[in-house]
Amino acid sequence: MTGPLVGVATVFRRELATVVRTPGYAVLAAGLLVAVGGLLAAGGGGATGFVPAVVDLLLPTEALVPLAAVVLGYRALLADGASGELAVIRTYPVRVGEYVAGVLLARTVALVGVVGVPYAAVGVGVWLTAAPDTGIFATHAGIDSPLLYLRFLAFVLLLGAAYVSLAAAVSAVAASRRSAVALGVLALVAGVLGGDLLLLRSLGAGASPASIPGSLALTPNGAFRGLTFEHVIGVAFAPEGGFVSTGRAVGSLVGWTLLGALAAGATLAYGRRVDAAIERVRSGLAD
């Protein structure tokens, strides 16, 4: 009657229903649409074509998408734990891994709605309004194309998925909503700025500039930026590429996503034992 898929699917349905019934996420999507559309209008790239639009959006996207993803994920695993419902759920035949997978899958689907839809809407806007003909479906060097924007959208969602997963890991560690917010902000700042600062520091310490493409791919933002340069912007302006190793960058984004999921699962699975072990040490010290 029950199995891993039943557990994942049941948790997924409940989590997705929660997201759909939370008006704040619709507001978040609308806000993101306004922000992205506004940035594009202010930059003017959207009036020219997809690649100029991506150039305008690249930097703000590195902050906006992680922010939206963290908002989606920072309470994902905290909510049931904080209310005490997780203790009830764990009396049912659903493993921690199934529970985490169901929650994360639902939050990732929500990401597609909250982040993917506004970006797709902006892409449609560019298609309809850009002055030169942007309807050419090709990726030849120097030619703008909706396919390039679709690639950008895919990279955006990969970046968002990594941050949703990392934020969910943070939510598993957090003991309260306040600590979840604090940890989420910390993860956001570390993710958005930390990688670049480390890269600059390593260059300052004498690292070879030739190592940049390899190092860049290690952080979620670096991997996203490298992929966007390699497969979107560079296709039009620098077809020789070499910004980043595609496999390494995609692997990095997928790896961060899996790392977040594993960290979340391990925290929920072993948290009680760790808590008890700490208490044993405390009691030992008190004696």
Partner: protein
């Protein structure tokens, strides 16, 4: 001849901040209704949480019913934790899908058949507890542990909540109820465990304990063993600041974060 225990604690200890809240408790839970009584802060909620696996003991062992697949433990924390925004039926449907049980039948069992379309946050405290009991017994678990199922309820609702729980107890199923409602304990419990300062002061079949302590009823037994007057009928309002109430709040484990405080006389209301 005593029944085979469904679950058991063996020298189970749990500390918070180095302070023992549950202190070397050994208790065999046999089929039937076992009431866990004791003053606020005596360790009732912690005992229930350790029994169902929601809290890891810092020492000792816990034996729980188990088996491949299925649900062997049903649990209702002191604060009913259901996610807001969902109806009673949707809430039970979520749990029901995990064990292949019917949410409507579960609602009917506790008399909430007409409240299925109401959101959980719109249910009264009593109805939420009944919903919690319906959840706990889904999937026919061998052990059902309920933490203060009658807390804060009017007399009719208290009786209904206790009866709904007690009806699950049979030759194979053990129902453990932590409660201050000693009149309902008298009426429904087969066995009683009286906790005092984290330890078991007395445990066994209710009739035997009454004889052993020359007590007329559970309230008198409570007074003799726990050293406090028992709570009157209807006085089982959720005690503010009950030291037992780490139940369910926090981060799943985090509700156990604060040390328990044994305050003699807190129950004297």
């Amino acid at each position: 001849m005593p029944d085979e225990p469904v679950a058991a604690l063996s020298d189970a200890t749990r500390t918070y901040g180095g302070v023992p809240v549950l202190d070397a408790v050994s208790l065999a839970v046999e089929p039937g209704v076992t009431a866990v009584v004791g003053p606020n802060g005596s360790g009732k909620s912690t005992l229930i949480r350790v029994l169902v696996g929601a809290t890891e003991p810092t020492a000792g062992e816990v034996r729980q019913p188990g088996g491949p697949g299925g649900k062997s433990i049903g649990y209702l924390p002191q604060r009913v934790p259901f996610r807001p925004g969902f109806t009673a039926r949707e809430t039970l449907a979520f749990y029901g899908r995990l064990v292949g049980d019917d949410p409507d039948a579960a609602l009917e069992r506790v008399g909430l058949g007409d409240a299925g379309d109401r959101r959980v946050e719109a249910l009264s405290g009593g109805m939420r507890r009944l919903l919690g009991i319906a959840q706990a017994v889904l999937g026919d678990p061998a052990l059902v542990a309920l933490d203060e199922p009658a807390s804060g309820l009017d007399p009719g609702m208290r009786e209904r909540a206790f009866r709904a729980a007690a009806e699950r107890a049979d030759g194979d199923t053990a129902v453990v109820i932590a409660s201050h409602a000693l009149d309902l304990v008298d009426e429904h419990a087969d066995r009683v465990a009286v906790l005092r300062r984290g330890g078991v002061a007395a445990a066994g079949p209710l009739d035997r304990l009454l004889d052993d302590h020359d007590a007329a009823d559970a309230r008198e037994l409570y007074r003799v063993v726990a050293g406090e007057p028992g709570t009157r009928a209807g006085d089982e309002d959720e005690p503010p600041g009950d030291g037992d109430e780490r139940g369910g709040e926090g981060d799943g484990e985090g509700d156990d974060a604060e040390p328990n405080v044994h305050v003699t006389g807190v129950s004297d209301r």
